[in-house]
Symmetry: C2
Amino acid sequence: MSKTINKLSIIPLGGVGEIGKNMTAYCHGNDIIVIDAGLKFPEEEMLGIDIVIPDITYLIENKQKVRGIFLTHGHEDHIGGLPYFLKHINVPVYGTKLTLGLVEAKLREHGLLDTANLNVITNRSVIQLGCFEVTPFYNNHSIPDTVGFAIDTPEGVVVHTGDFKFDFTPVDGRTADYHKLAELGERGVLALLSDSTNAERPGYTMSERVVGQTIDEVIANAERRVILATFASNLHRIQQVFEAAERHGRKVTVVGRSMVNNINIALELGYLKISKGTLVEPDEINKLPADKIVILSTGSQGEPMSALTRMARATHRKIEILPDDTVIIASSPIPGNEKFVARTIDQLFRIGAKVIYQSVSGVHVSGHASQEELKLMLNLVRPKYFIPVHGEFRMLKRHAELAEMVGVNPDNIFIVDIGDTVEFQNGRGRLGPKVTAGNVLIDGLGVGDVGNIVLRDRKLLSQDGILVVVVTLSKQDGSILSGPDIISRGFVYVRESEELLEEANRIVTQTLSKLVSENVNEWSSLKTGVRDALGRFLYEQTRRRPMILPIIMET
Amino acid sequence: MSKTINKLSIIPLGGVGEIGKNMTAYCHGNDIIVIDAGLKFPEEEMLGIDIVIPDITYLIENKQKVRGIFLTHGHEDHIGGLPYFLKHINVPVYGTKLTLGLVEAKLREHGLLDTANLNVITNRSVIQLGCFEVTPFYNNHSIPDTVGFAIDTPEGVVVHTGDFKFDFTPVDGRTADYHKLAELGERGVLALLSDSTNAERPGYTMSERVVGQTIDEVIANAERRVILATFASNLHRIQQVFEAAERHGRKVTVVGRSMVNNINIALELGYLKISKGTLVEPDEINKLPADKIVILSTGSQGEPMSALTRMARATHRKIEILPDDTVIIASSPIPGNEKFVARTIDQLFRIGAKVIYQSVSGVHVSGHASQEELKLMLNLVRPKYFIPVHGEFRMLKRHAELAEMVGVNPDNIFIVDIGDTVEFQNGRGRLGPKVTAGNVLIDGLGVGDVGNIVLRDRKLLSQDGILVVVVTLSKQDGSILSGPDIISRGFVYVRESEELLEEANRIVTQTLSKLVSENVNEWSSLKTGVRDALGRFLYEQTRRRPMILPIIMET
């Protein structure tokens, strides 16, 4: 075993310089604990990729030191990478009841539930793992049962907020644990790692109750059915929909797989309270008058296969949206989804539905703290050091500016990248050496088998397609025995481009004949010759650069 | 020649139900005039496509009736399709001086300048073409010299606004022609076609002068260089940058091809007024102190190859952005570009530049009218019929609601799709028969040679790549003489997937042997067999569905 070094290292392996795949390691001597194991959705250039998870090479190399993993809440960008993590490092998992409820469903799918060691924590539980004493504290977010962690280390206390906002009138009445934060601040906090998502946004984020009021008004005034689409994990909003429906004598039905699953888990674990008879099956609503119905649905991001999109296109198995139905899209588009959401809204308007969406009304509030709340967190915790996390670079930068405004010494603020280490020893912090970190791409069942070359090829193929050129040469004299045959995909309409392809054929024949007459006969040279001549010709004729795959056979 | 029918048909061939490729035909008897010939940038699913233009089949079929084409202003979504239009229908083109200046550059590139018939128009010019009398009227927009058209037809006057806002304090002092609009409204207007881009936005759009004030303050307070990126066509903003630079004793240099070109055209035509010595070459700025420099640049949409992006990545030939430089991104992201813009901002922050961008300050205003201005237009013109244009469906819908609010009879409002005709006869309007309309995709030099099948193939290729399987069979007994050889692109890292590909090889061999032993020998059946068996195997192993291209040779 290596010599124990008396210092604390904080290593973000995901979630800084990016939104998504949150993961942070806390290391001291022979102990490592990890907070969160999230996933990220692929960037535009990651063609064909399903999800992206953090590279955990560093943790695998130090596997024997890892004591446990703590989860702040049940969103995919915090728990979505957990199955991949546990396959390599099967340590105890700590999370609140709802978070673990959502994790269980995920581990079951991956066949990992039986071997996982899941431990329920709650506000002010105390978990001792190696030299770390971890205390969860409640905060508010767009999913219930969210916590941050106070981590007592030999170098002092570190506060890790997780995703949060301060909702002074939370739907479930469970306010953030201001008193714990104040107590920590009073005792003295070495470092704060805080959520930077909304660091660009001035003011306060509104309470989720505001959305409840809007929903209530819309339902009160709707003459026919109300369809509401929101994130399936926003159980506070879902609770408010059920309450509003009941107040106005409407039944609620639920469509969309993740919405059905989450509501079932929440009901089972007691995170949703629904009066008997309010929740009905989709089949039953056709027996009810239109003004007695609320439909809760997935699809608030305009996802092409979601229940809302299918209902809007009349391709849903059970429910169709009709003229004068009221549709509430209770979310704001995640960057990259703007066009999908706009298309769905357009489609709903085309049907003749009344559509209520964010840019024209208040049916969504963020789950993340705005600038004034971030300052409140900084004021309560009064950290000596500050590390903004959970944000793209400009958000971290803005958050750092806020910290400076409330009095944190600018030399004590670290804006870091994934794989950076911030080391604390004898009360002083500094940047340490970098560790391995990055993106692991998941495509189907493949974890990490798609990299830059494969992505570059997919990009090329997606732009101008491919031409496969097949030709058989004589072993004796190199003359062409059959072909060239050109097969194209994704390049041009073959039917309308016969001349072009015939000419391409002639170019290949000429090129090969010329090379053979010059006694060039290594295959690689012949292939390069064909690729260059044909590529040049096609570019001149079409200004396109399809991938060219020459296949030369000998017989 | 067909019998003259005494009715007016208004046919949008682009720009309704979409943002982009604006084009509207006005037809009466044997006369057709066209307003605008724009392009649209491709949707996400149009892989490899460069631009999209309107399908003008209807106009080509009625070519002998087309009398001329009128341009409202010089933005690409109004003039970008003109070269393709003129190649088919070379009629006189009418536009203001600046608009034609920009058109000339475009036609020169396409080798069409010599044959084009360009005619300069100005406010209240009167152009008689067939039965139409067309009167341009000034309005305000984010490019100078923008006009709308009053079209006097045998059925009455139609007002076609083009893109507009009402800027009461325009930078060039040239206000919209309120008096002409009022006069038209007083005389009586049959129909109004009005810009719906900002119909979702309450209130008024701010004056461009507001941006000038912000830019002035930023330049006044900057300690080092100021780099400002904006749309190259926003000459009012560019004028204000030059004026502010001069006020604060700074020189201005210009980078980015379209910015250089547009400024040259504007200077030549008198649309920019710059004091002598203020504009300097990029090479000269290295001789100047940092607080004497302003750099005007393209790249406000985060385009990967733009000057701003290259300067931020230190890959620009002449200029690099340095710590403490101030960068102003004076635009808001066009839907779909959000992520590119965010990346550029992050990169600039990483360098240590001060970045001023829309979500945190007022360095951009829209060029389109908000709700109150749209109501003002409706109030001035007082049309009997109303057709909202220039917008996606929900924008047209909102605009229709505004028209209803100001008193237009809801039965007289037509929300239309491209190819719909709105017919007017004896003062009454109704929907007529549909005409051919749609998207023509341009990829390189190809116009319309990429369609659904090609796009579907590109989509497939981009998701999971391609496997080419080559095998030579004996003519005699169908036994395998060489191969199978499997070549993959965009599927998996070959080096790390040797086993998978070897197994794939065995599957192909087995499948072919089995089929041959069953006396299956049509090539199509052999190919289908290989494709199915291999596809099934790869999906089981990887959950991916690469395109499979079996090439079977006989010898």
